[in-house]
């Protein structure tokens, strides 16, 4: 990498967020200064990531590079690694984080006590830093440390809104996450013992040797299983997802948007890295983990939607829909081809853009209905807050996979990726069934908000949505259409990124 400026961007963006997090407690809490500071820092990270992406796609040389954290080369020190996939994900994460914060700027003020706002910003900055570190890290133990930061910060932004319910939800989330962390830690210790390395690429070569010589196959399988289950608990794959609707449904809108759109993705991305960079797809196939992931993914797609159908609370409904969407990602990973992993990454991006939009618009609509969250209470709110209504409709179309919306692109790429695999019939059946199930709960929601309701309309006492809110929804909608209509160059870029992962 000859471009020195681009070369330093991964390190600079992680440290920028960390330093912002560290100085935020010292910033005076006037004029919402801490939040503005966070927004600026995240914005700068977004611009830097965009530049990194530009530099990576336009450089003729090797497309991914390693960044040694310190004076010691690879197996001795920590390392970061950046390629097109990492740059795209960092860009999407920072843009989505920024829009989630901006869109819920006023609801954050209502929901969070003044004494806690400063700390909310610290936690948001730490989450961003942890996500960036998980995106760029090339070291399994660093990944573990930042997974823990992610977990603690995620649980406490659930509890940031005062109230008994959020405390209970945060505790449940924490207990489940800790089971996951314990399993991940045991697995990392086993892997270290077998390979003698913590760096992903050195582990990869050591594992290749073990597989070829058929040594230690049983411990290898067990550690892969433990690390997958541990991270699957944290990323809410179905049988382990019981904590998600409480945590995402009860917290403030900004927290829900960040948790659903981004925090889950950090853990899923770690699984992808472990599959591709540590073990390698052939080894995953030899250890049969791809089939397990595929089955769990399909189960999650169906059961997430079934649970969402039974919810009356709009935020909990959207939260259960996240479980279904996580199922899509795992199903695509279960195809165990480069195209499948690329489709999974595309779905990560799509979901990271659509889910914050859904939560933000649901927040706007329930604000219009006087802070009621029941679906029936939202009747006619489309006509009070049009941008929020449009956001919900676009999000619903995207989740159902209507062409020209973002969700269509990723579903299409999952289907295209499945043509080379043994699971093609299952993938098509699962996609069809899941789309119908998605329609069964999103279409009624859209119909409810668009039904004229003159009685209730007079009772709506909400303040008019701010310009910032409308602007954010506009940006979300544009992002949605961009992903839906022009996803092919992006998919090619991601495929290149997956190849050099």
């Amino acid at each position: 990498m000859t471009n020195i400026f681009a070369f330093n961007i991964p390190f600079v963006s992680i440290f920028l967020m960390m330093i912002t997090a560290i100085i935020t407690p010292l910033v005076p809490d006037r004029n919402r200064l801490p939040e503005k500071l966070s927004c600026y820092a995240i914005g700068i990270v977004g611009v830097l990531s965009a530049y990194l992406l530009y530099a990576l796609t336009n450089s003729g040389q090797s497309i991914a590079f390693n960044f040694a954290m310190g004076h010691y080369p690879a197996p001795w020190g920590n390392e970061l690694r950046a390629g097109p996939l990492e740059a795209v994900l960092a860009l999407v994460f920072s843009v989505s984080m920024l829009l989630s914060l901006l869109g819920n700027f006023s609801s954050t003020q209502e929901d969070i006590a003044p004494a806690r706002r400063n700390i909310f910003c610290v936690l948001v900055n730490l989450l961003t830093a942890a996500l960036l570190a998980l995106t760029y890290t090339n070291d399994l133990f660093t990944a573990y440390v930042f997974i823990e930061i992610n977990t603690i910060a995620a649980c406490s932004i659930v509890a940031v809104k005062e109230g008994a319910e959020t405390v209970r939800a945060a505790l449940r989330y924490l207990v489940m996450s800790l089971v996951g962390s314990g399993l991940v830690m045991i697995a990392i210790c086993l892997l270290y013992d077998l390979t003698g390395h913590l760096l992903m690429q050195n582990m990869h070569s050591a594992i290749q040797v073990l597989v070829v010589t058929k040594n230690y196959m049983m411990p290898l399988t067990v550690s892969l299983g433990l690390i997958t289950v541990g991270l699957a608990i944290k990323s809410a794959l179905y049988p382990f997802a019981s904590w998600l609707p409480d945590a995402h449904g009860s917290s403030t809108n900004a927290s829900s948007a960040i948790l659903s759109g981004l925090v889950l993705k950090g853990h899923i991305l770690t699984i992808i890295k472990i599959f591709c960079r540590v073990f390698g797809l052939e080894v995953i196939h030899a250890l049969r983990m791809d089939t397990v992931i595929f089955i769990l993914g399909v189960l999650s797609m169906i059961m997430g939607s079934v649970h969402a159908l039974r919810e009356k609370n709009v935020k909990r409904m959207i939260a259960w829909s996240s479980v279904a969407q996580v199922g899509y990602i795992f199903m695509a990973m279960g195809l165990n081809t480069t195209a499948g992993v690329a489709a999974a990454c595309l779905h990560i991006i799509v979901h990271a853009c659509v889910k914050p939009m859904l939560f933000t618009s649901a927040g706007g609509l329930s604000n219009a209905a006087g802070h009621k969250k029941g679906l029936h209470a939202l009747m006619g709110t489309f006509y009070v807050n049009k941008w929020a209504g449009l956001g919900l409709i676009a999000g619903a179309c995207s989740m159902m996979g209507v062409p020209a919306f973002a969700g269509f692109a990723s579903k299409l790429s999952i289907m295209l990726a499945s043509f080379d695999s043994q699971f093609v019939v299952w993938v098509i059946a699962a996609l069809a069934l899941s789309s119908v199930l998605n329609a069964l709960y999103y279409v009624p929601a859209v119909i409810v908000i668009m039904t004229h309701n003159e009685d209730a309309r007079r009772n709506f006492t909400a303040s008019a949505p701010t310009k910032l809110y409308n602007f954010t929804m506009f940006m979300f909608l544009m992002l949605n259409f961009y992903l839906g209509l022009f996803c092919m160059p992006l998919l090619r870029l991601i495929t290149r990124g997956v190849n050099v992962l």
């Binding site: 330093i19 004076h71 936690l123 660093t142 823990e148 086993l190 013992d193």
Partner: protein, 328 residues
């Protein structure tokens, strides 16, 4: 045949709807005389069990036994899961490289360089200190950030907003027997205890000195910022117990805690950031390594240990104060 099927179906349908023929051995109570319309009581849903439909019966059964059944099922499944996990892990452990063997995969070229050149490259006599604060410093920075995250989270959960909600409660700790909700009284008063104070006045200087020695000698001997910080925090906790939290607040308030740990972490981040940056870009770092074995050696390790010690001491005392007093 068709008629028979129909009859069977009808009886089944009646049974499902709860209108079926009663069991033969059931004693049918004598019909009470028909009451006048306005004295007739509405039928009690559950007293006539056989008249309830299948769905009602199911929901009634679930109401009584559901929670119990769920907890039994949950315990059964989790016990089974744990047994499976432990036996799987035991089988794994049996396959692992043998204990204490010098040719295990973990004893490879990575360890060789840490030991062989660690002293020269990091300047630290304690190889582990050199490892965690120089070779793998990014992990350790992340680890300090975990502590920072937990500290701000606990401060948020138990801090200012909770104090405001509890302040006007002047009743002692009691349980409301009906709701079971804890009524929290004012914080426990500090008891003036002559023995505790005497012991504390003798031991606090020793503990403080011990903590400082462990922090400052982190690069030469076992110890370092984390263990030394933990020792320092015990001195603060002992002081708070012996002389009351007010005395400690005089020089260590919530604001001091936030400012000191943020500043210490900031110094940590900036100095490590400098060495990461110079290292990755192959620039020369201006930090001297010193001679192995001296107090002033090992480059950044000593200042980093002091920063970490400050963070850990403050955070652990902060946890104690927040939990016991709801204040710090």
């Amino acid at each position: 045949m068709n008629e028979e099927l129909k009859a069977v179906w009808a009886s089944f349908f009646n049974w499902v709807m709860g209108n079926g023929p009663r069991p033969e051995n059931e004693v049918i109570p004598a019909e009470p005389p028909p009451a006048l319309p306005f004295t007739q009581k509405p039928k009690d849903k559950y007293s006539r069990f056989h008249e309830a439909t299948l769905k009602e019966r199911y929901s009634q059964w679930l109401e009584i036994h559901g929670l119990h059944l769920f907890s039994v099922l949950y315990s059964g499944v989790s016990v089974l899961l744990c047994i499976v996990l432990v036996s799987l892990l035991l089988a794994t452990v049996a396959e692992l490289p043998p204990f204490g063997h010098e040719r295990n995969p973990a004893n490879n070229e990575v360890i060789e360089r840490y030991v062989k050149h660690g002293g020269r490259e990091t300047g630290a006599q304690n190889i582990v200190a050199g490892l965690i604060l120089d070779y793998r410093a990014f992990d350790t920075f992340g680890e300090s950030s975990v502590l920072f995250t937990a500290a701000v989270s606990v401060l948020m959960i138990l801090g200012a907003s909770r104090r405001n909600s509890l302040k006007d409660d002047s009743k002692p700790h009691t349980h409301d027997p009906e709701s079971g909700i804890l009524q929290r009284g004012p914080p426990l008063m500090h008891h003036d205890d002559a023995i505790l104070r005497g012991v504390a006045s003798l031991s606090i200087p020793v503990i403080l000195m011990m903590g400082c020695v462990v922090v400052i000698n982190g690069h030469l001997s076992p110890g370092g910022g984390f263990s030394g910080g933990a020792i320092l925090s015990t001195a603060l906790i002992l002081a708070a117990n012996a002389y009351g939290f007010g005395k400690v607040h005089a020089f260590f308030s919530e604001r001091t805690f936030i400012v000191s740990s943020s500043t210490a972490l900031m110094i940590y981040a900036l100095s490590k950031g400098y060495s990461f940056f110079t290292g990755a870009n192959h620039l020369h770092s201006i930090i001297p390594k010193g001679t192995i074995g001296n107090i002033l050696s090992a480059g950044l390790i000593l200042p980093l240990d002091i920063c970490v010690g400050l963070i850990v001491a403050g955070t652990l005392y902060g946890f104690y104060a927040l939990f016991s007093e709801g204040d710090m």
